[in-house]
């Protein structure tokens, strides 16, 4: 077999492709938005769940050293499992903004009465449109930001013990 440059190139190219396939097998095909860490959250304005005349915006969050923005709903089962970690966090030096997603006011109030209210402010997002501003695509989801409104951690799904510890590390 003649060894010439084009044949070597072809062989190398095939080896490269097969190698990429092999590496590709190990990659996770499910997409998540964790790569958006480091970006700033956008400007927003949300009303308080029980009092329409009270609102909160990104300017208010600049005053906090750290804020955890937690999207939850009364109809969401995993939100119940993560709730105890939110309660624990409410004692630490971190402010928690709860956003009630696509929910009825009465149900949300019942939920918080039953499980406890860890939130410094409960906002409502009845149509879910505000969640898009934060890049949320499922419930529960939480975003940890600093006083520059930069996202330092994204938690997709309920907060578990290891993520709770990570949050504690980050807000030290």
């Amino acid at each position: 077999m003649k060894i010439n440059i084009s044949r070597i190139i072809i062989f190398c190219f095939v080896i490269f492709c097969l190698f990429v396939f092999w590496l590709g097998l190990k990659k996770n095909i499910n997409y998540d938005t964790e790569s958006l860490i480091g970006s700033r959250i956008s400007n927003f304005q949300l009303n308080e769940i029980n009092h329409n005349n009270q609102s909160i915006s990104e300017k208010d969050l600049k005053n906090n050293e750290f804020t955890l923005i937690n999207f939850f709903a009364s109809w969401c089962a995993p939100c119940r499992t993560e709730h105890k970690y939110l309660l624990k966090l409410s004692d630490k030096k971190i402010k928690i903004l709860g956003v009630n997603f696509k929910d009825k006011k009465s149900n949300a109030n019942k939920f918080l009465k039953e499980l406890g209210n860890p939130y410094d402010f409960v906002a409502k997002d009845s149509e879910g449109k505000a969640s898009v501003l934060f890049g949320i695509y499922g419930i529960p989801e939480s975003i940890l930001i600093d006083n520059n409104l930069t996202v330092i951690k994204k938690i997709i799904g309920p907060i578990d013990q290891s993520q709770y510890n990570e949050i504690l590390n980050l807000i030290r």
Partner: protein, 628 residues
């Protein structure tokens, strides 16, 4: 017990493969032109055992024998009989068994039907094909065994996905596999032809029929899959450029290119190396497609349940195939002289191949790019319908144009006058079109071009048919039918894409929505209990405001219990002129229903055109004797 029978049969097939390879290698050294009778017997036994193993699995499904883990995972006692049987190939392991079956059956048929050809060539083909059979049989036994048994035997199965319980989907895999796997035989034949130096016209004649058979079934399989997607999946589309769909389209481009190049190879004894490359590439693409679909490397609506070990095995097999074909091709390559006249038919076939390769590589790049980007840079992107439409559709215009003018050029002769006449007229058409689209401002320039060339091809085909009836020359009939079908397909897809009406809105029971030309009245909801599901049926009254025609449509939301799934059944009213398409889903935690309403003009003609293409192919198979 079925488990043991099944595994036993596969092991027998494996042993027979080894024996076949061994005896064929011995027979290679023997003088004379006929193959030892024993080899035929081995092949026949091999076929018998393989088919029996497939029937064993089918029996397992029919009897709901849950001692077989495959039956347990994919069936249920309450499934209707037809779908129990279809469940055999509706899963990874069963379809792999079907794959092995087709490899073996084609191996035997090729051996038996090619006795006019060179002995060494046929023996080498048999050897290579059996190496493929070995590879897949080992994969089957070691990793994806449909005859694995479980103990204790469960009382009930996990159930077949309700979406798969559909007649079109039941026959779609077997049809597609005859296409996909059928190309294995000319892969082996190409390797054999290189090694035994059996080239040119004779080689073309030996594989011709097999290429056509695999092409017909591949086209039919893709069409049936699209018809199923349209009627069953509830989004009103029939092609999504999903990776699994692309995996079936890639070999189709290659087989189409091959089919056309074979004509040149047979008539003019040239393009041999290119034909070999196509033969090798087609099956390589099939296996690559299988890899993409079954390894779990891509995110798709169609994927089988994934398992990384499968991916590694298939990748290994794919690598061996590619390297061995590259090595054999490079060692046995002989330089060819090409003898073309620029404006003759060969050049058009080359052009066809040129476009086919372009379409193929575009789809391949579009499908694989996200994987490469993710592995190299960890950036995840999506490549979907907009990409493929933007890159491919504009090039369909010159492609269809070339198809339309090809018949004007017979072999070798130069036809200058006609050539320049056509060029001039089409140029006029383009200029006129430019003025019109500028004047009206609303026309899509591209879709107009599509319509022009498609109509050109259609009318040209009708003229050809007229000529045919007058001269009574049969051979061209199949080409005309297929090309006419293709022209119609392009035309109707263009119309459907350009003139479809789509509306997406939310309604509560009792509300009315007025869209352009239609008034949609959400009259009510009914609950219907059926054998294995509960249906929420919507009653919709549609009034066509142009002609006051009233129609009723009943889309459904079906709740299945085994396994627990939700499906959305579209209400489709098919007419000659258009389809009305309505789907309904409920918005969670609300009284609203999300309604998708579509009016799709000439939808059924898309299927008719696609089937016409297939009929053209089958016509040529049956009119074999009247070549030249």
């Amino acid at each position: 017990m079925l488990s043991n029978i099944g595994i036993g049969l596969i092991v027998l097939v494996l042993i027979l493969s080894f024996l076949t390879i061994y005896t064929a290698s011995l027979d290679l050294k023997m003088p004379g032109q006929s193959i030892k009778k024993g080899i035929y017997k081995l092949s026949l036994f091999q076929t018998t055992f393989t088919v029996l193993s497939f029937f064993t699995l089918i029996i397992g499904f029919i009897n709901s024998d849950f001692s077989l883990s495959n039956v347990y995972e994919n069936s249920h006692t309450t499934k209707p009989l037809f779908y129990k049987i279809a469940g055999t190939w509706g899963n990874h392991e069963g379809s792999l068994l079907l794959w092995v079956n087709i490899l073996v059956i084609f191996s035997y048929l090729f051996l038996v039907f090619n006795h006019t050809h060179n002995k060494k060539f046929r023996l080498y083909t048999l050897i290579f094909q059996n190496i493929l059979i070995l590879g897949f049989s080992f994969f089957l036994l070691l990793n994806s065994n449909p005859f694995n048994s479980i103990y204790p035997i469960p009382l009930e199965g996990l159930g077949l996905n309700p979406i798969l319980q559909d007649p079109a989907l039941a026959i779609h895999p077997p049809l597609l596999y005859v296409g996909f796997v059928g190309c294995s035989i000319y892969f082996s034949a190409a390797m054999a032809s290189l090694i035994s130096d059996y080239r040119g016209k004779l080689f073309a004649q030996s594989i011709k029929t097999w290429v056509k058979i695999s092409w017909c079934f591949q086209t039919l399989g893709i069409t049936v899959g699209s018809i199923w997607a349209y009627y069953e999946l509830g989004w009103g589309g029939f092609w999504f450029w999903d990776p699994v769909e692309n995996a079936s389209l890639l070999p189709w481009f290659a087989i189409t290119a091959l089919m056309h190049s074979l004509i040149v190879l047979e008539k003019r004894n040239t393009l041999y190396s290119w034909v070999v490359i196509l033969c090798l590439s087609t099956f390589i693409l099939s296996v690559t497609g299988t890899f993409l679909v079954r390894s779990g490397i891509l995110n798709s609506v169609h994927t089988f349940a994934s398992d990384p070990s499968r991916g590694i095995y298939i990748l290994l097999f794919l690598s061996l195939m590619i390297f061995s074909s590259l090595i054999i091709f490079f060692t046995k390559y002989k330089k060819e002289t090409y003898n073309f006249n620029l404006k003759s038919r060969e050049t058009f076939i080359l052009a066809n191949n040129w476009f086919m390769v372009f379409f193929l590589l575009t789809v391949l790049i579009g499908t694989l790019y996200p994987i490469f980007l993710d592995v190299i840079t960890s950036v995840k992107i999506s490549v979907g319908p907009p990409f493929f439409n933007i890159v491919i559709v504009p090039l369909v215009v010159p492609f269809v144009f070339l198809m339309a003018i090809v018949p004007k050029f017979s072999w070798i002769k130069l036809q200058n006058k006609i050539f320049y006449k056509i060029l001039f007229l089409i140029l006029c058409g383009v200029i006129i079109n430019l003025f019109i689209s500028h004047f009206f401002g609303k026309y899509s320039f591209l879709s107009n071009l599509i319509f022009i060339v498609a109509i050109f091809l259609i009318l040209q085909s009708f003229l050809d048919i007229k000529k045919l009836i007058n001269k009574k020359k049969k051979p061209e009939l199949s080409r005309i039918i297929s090309h006419l079908g293709f022209g119609l397909l392009v035309f109707f897809i263009g119309i459907n894409h350009q003139f479809s009406l789509e509306e997406d809105f939310n309604l509560k029971v009792g509300e009315i929505k007025k869209t352009k030309n239609y008034e949609i009245n959400f009259e009510g909801i009914k609950i219907r209990e059926s054998k294995n599901y509960k249906a929420i049926v919507g009653n919709f009254k549609l009034i066509n405001e142009k002609n006051d025609l009233v129609q009723y449509l009943n889309p459904e939301i079906r709740i299945y219990s085994n396994p627990e799934t939700l499906t959305y059944e579209a209400a489709i009213k098919t007419k000659i002129t258009s389809d009305l398409y309505l789907t309904m889903s409920n918005v969670s935690r609300s009284d609203y229903y999300n309604i998708k309403f579509q009016n799709k003009p000439f939808m059924i003609w898309i299927w008719i055109s696609a089937l016409m293409i297939v009929i053209g192919g089958f016509t040529q198979l049956t009119l074999k004797k009247n070549e030249d």
